[in-house]
Symmetry: C2
């Protein structure tokens, strides 16, 4: 008996599926003649057009044979893939093996943060609010591109380096907003910042090479450099960014291969690398021949009048590899990043990228390119900046009101996170656990606890003012 239900599944599909099921379990045998569409329409109480759709579906799937003027019959060659099981006594293979039959190295370095997003309230390390992002426009642009013949060509194999039109728009955008002087050929599009750092690291670092990072620095970079078996050395970070004198001293005693910087807002402390230090570092790189890997993940959100341009804007000698993305500006899940470097390096990096990830999402790149060309992204960023400035101001004033002297922090000049140090002795892990019990997630990657320091990097960007209030209510109780 065929049952029709009120459900999301169209009625014709409900019918065709039940007929298929009947064929599969042998209730309708091969060669059996199906009733006519009028009869079925009457029997099942549905419109004849629906029956015809169901029959067409069965035909498209190869379950029936329609003999014009004769009738419709269950095929004697059902379309199930009658794949032949491999010979041998395998019928007992009830389930897939629980583990591999060989061993392999298990990394302790690469342990990663909890990957699932918090269901309720939660702080991040500085993620944007995806609820603000212009998805309507993005989805529209995406569909528009896919609907064109030229868009379909983007779904064949194409340029490893990225969609040419996107690279052109991106070059203009980066030149306009970051004072770069690049051409599209200086860009390799990547899946977010991760792939940019990974590719540069894989190509440019040999085992034992020295990579210098600020103390403390972003865990992602540290993991990637260690994966390339580089040696990591740290230099202190103060209120003007990484210490140039420490870097200079290190240059004299060791050969540095790469310096990893997040100059716009140092990760995790959010301080800006001063203009003087930028120039000094560029000179040191020239003198000592080390590569500057400039990670500029949140350039777009700057609240003061004059952000400093990135080091890449003043790189006369090709010492800087610049990586950025739209993950902080729009949404982390978009995975749209870019790497900027002299053309000889881009060519080589593209070869490496080719064997890891043949090409990016060229349709999405085309959609973004059209939004850049139309100024949509730029307008969105201006609007979002206002909202994030308000959230930063609210978050900082609430922190001051609620925690007073127990918290030391400076309102960040940009970005979506605040660095805060506790002046009293606190156990951050216990605070985090207390908060989780009350419905607020503060992942461990946001906690920085040493013998002398108890600090947190809390992202305010993804929370509106009500949510900030609720989160701080819980944090206040969690600290007690």
């Amino acid at each position: 008996m065929i049952r029709i239900e009120h459900s999301a599944t169209p009625v014709y599909l409900q019918i065709s599926r039940q007929l298929i099921n009947a064929i599969q379990r042998g209730a309708l045998v091969p060669g059996a003649r199906l009733p006519g569409t009028r009869t079925l329409s009457t029997l099942l109480g549905v419109h004849r057009k629906t029956i015809i759709s169901a029959i067409e579906e069965l035909d498209a799937q190869g379950w029936i044979q329609i003999r014009p003027n004769i009738g419709t019959f269950v095929t004697d060659k059902p379309p199930v893939i009658k794949a032949a099981p491999l010979p041998g006594d395998l019928s007992q293979l009830a389930r897939y093996p629980a583990s591999t039959g060989y061993s392999f190295p298990v990394s302790v370095l690469l342990e990663r943060e909890v990957s699932s997003p918090a269901k309720g309230l939660g702080f991040t390390d500085g993620q944007p609010d995806v609820r603000l992002a212009p998805f309507d426009k993005l989805a529209k642009a995406y569909r528009r591109v896919m609907g064109r013949r030229s868009g379909q060509r983007l779904l064949t194999y194409s340029d490893v380096e990225g969609n040419p039109f996107y690279r052109k728009q991106l070059a203009d955008y980066l030149n306009n907003t970051r004072g770069l002087h690049i051409r599209p050929e200086n860009i390799l599009t990547t899946r977010g910042i991760h792939m940019g750092i990974y590719l540069a690291s894989e190509l440019l670092l040999r085992p034992g090479d020295l990579v210098v990072v600020g103390s403390t620095s972003h865990y992602l970079g540290n993991m990637i450099f260690q994966q390339a078996r580089a040696e990591i050395r740290t230099v202190p970070v103060d209120e003007n960014g990484v210490s140039v004198s420490a870097l200079k001293a290190l240059c004299k005693s060791r050969t540095i291969r790469m310096l990893y910087l997040t100059p716009h807002h140092h990760y995790p402390t959010t301080v800006t690398l001063s203009a003087e230090r930028r120039i000094e570092i560029l000179q040191l790189a020239r003198t000592y021949g080390f590569i500057i890997l400039e990670d500029d993940h949140d350039y777009d959100f700057h609240y003061n009048s004059s952000p400093l341009l990135p080091l890449a804007s003043a790189d006369t000698d090709g010492m800087v590899v610049y990586v950025g993305s739209f993950c902080k500006a729009l949404a982390p899940g978009l995975r749209q990043g870019y790497l900027v470097a002299p053309e000889n390096l881009i060519r080589e990096l593209a070869k490496l990228r080719h064997i890891i990830d043949r090409q990016g999402d060229l349709v999405m790149e085309q959609a973004l390119a059209e939004m850049l060309a139309e100024g949509e992204i730029q307008r969105y960023l201006k609007k979002a900046l206002k909202i994030y400035r308000t959230r930063r101001d609210f978050f900082c004033s609430e922190l001051a009101t609620r925690f007073g002297d127990t918290l030391n922090f400076t309102a960040p000049p940009g970005g979506l996170a605040v660095w805060m140090e506790w002046s009293k002795k606190v156990n951050l892990l216990r605070i985090s656990q207390n908060c989780l019990g009350k419905g607020l997630s503060i992942p461990q990657t946001l906690l920085f606890q040493t013998e002398r320091l108890a600090a947190m990097r809390l992202g305010f960007g993804s929370l509106d003012e009500t949510e900030i209030g609720a989160a701080l209510d819980i944090l206040e109780r969690g600290v007690k």
Copy 2:
């Protein structure tokens, strides 16, 4: 003077942009009062609503200040990012450096095929016809997912391993179509096959490890294994696939770490690995402890009644790592692939993937998952299979008619390419150049020329019957 043109740019944007331009070049100075909207409407001859939109745009971008009941004024803080150039004598930096200021290894191994798609007629190594793919439905599903609140959550950081709903649907799909016995936890989603092979290779191979491939084998695998500094050894391939006796002999003299197979249709010759050999190879892997990397890139298009199930379907001991994708089934540009393995390996591979590519396109995965759940993909594949079978039959009959005894080939049991050996002495590179001159691209990666062999692997899938005819017309003339 403001000019309004008939163009794709909305009139309000044309107006706001020209006003911005006037502000930027100083024609409208800070503090200048703008005419009222009625006046502007009359002056420019456009509807007042359009003027209001233009004014709102200027306001949103921060170019003007609206003082209620007083007037609208050009702001004295224009919103251009007045980023401070770094100090020092950098004004001469007219263009970006042409090359890096440091050296790095340039790979000859990783030279890749020409990446831009041929503009006109061209053979591939077996790509699908993207014109057939269900983009309307895909774009619709994509937009539907993005429009939901739950879809926006897919744009935050989420599971490295892939969208959970997609992994569930994919597990069902693979179990149903390929006789696997897996759970969603056995799947890591990847960017096409490339990333699957790369991740497995990076994690499982150490420098000097022995990887066995068929002679000849896919260039992609060879590049990736060599990038991991593995040693590659070949075993012959005959009409039943890779030679098991050669493999067995090698097992006795050397420790094999990995065997790379494309058993469904060997690349490039398209032969199917026989059932008996599959079982023997699984037994050898168990006995000698080597990993089988099973690349099943075109399982979906099989023209005979009973395709053999993959080795992974009979892997009782966790020796097989199975990689596949929707790139051949739907479109190469989608970059939707998967890796199937025991859970302990998936966990470790996910850690590595995390530092290369934080997560896949979870929105696209959700769209595909919904299409799998609704049976859309499955229906599409059935329809496409019929078309590809017709193309294969037409292509093979044309080859036979046109080239007769000069070409030896067997109609492939599946996939989208034909392997053909020339019985007379020909210079493949010259044929390829001749054809290119006449408008037909045959990339070098499709040519297999040794002292004893002149063969081509020509993909027919992306060409309809008219195009196949036109392409073979040119090939016929190119051979002469």
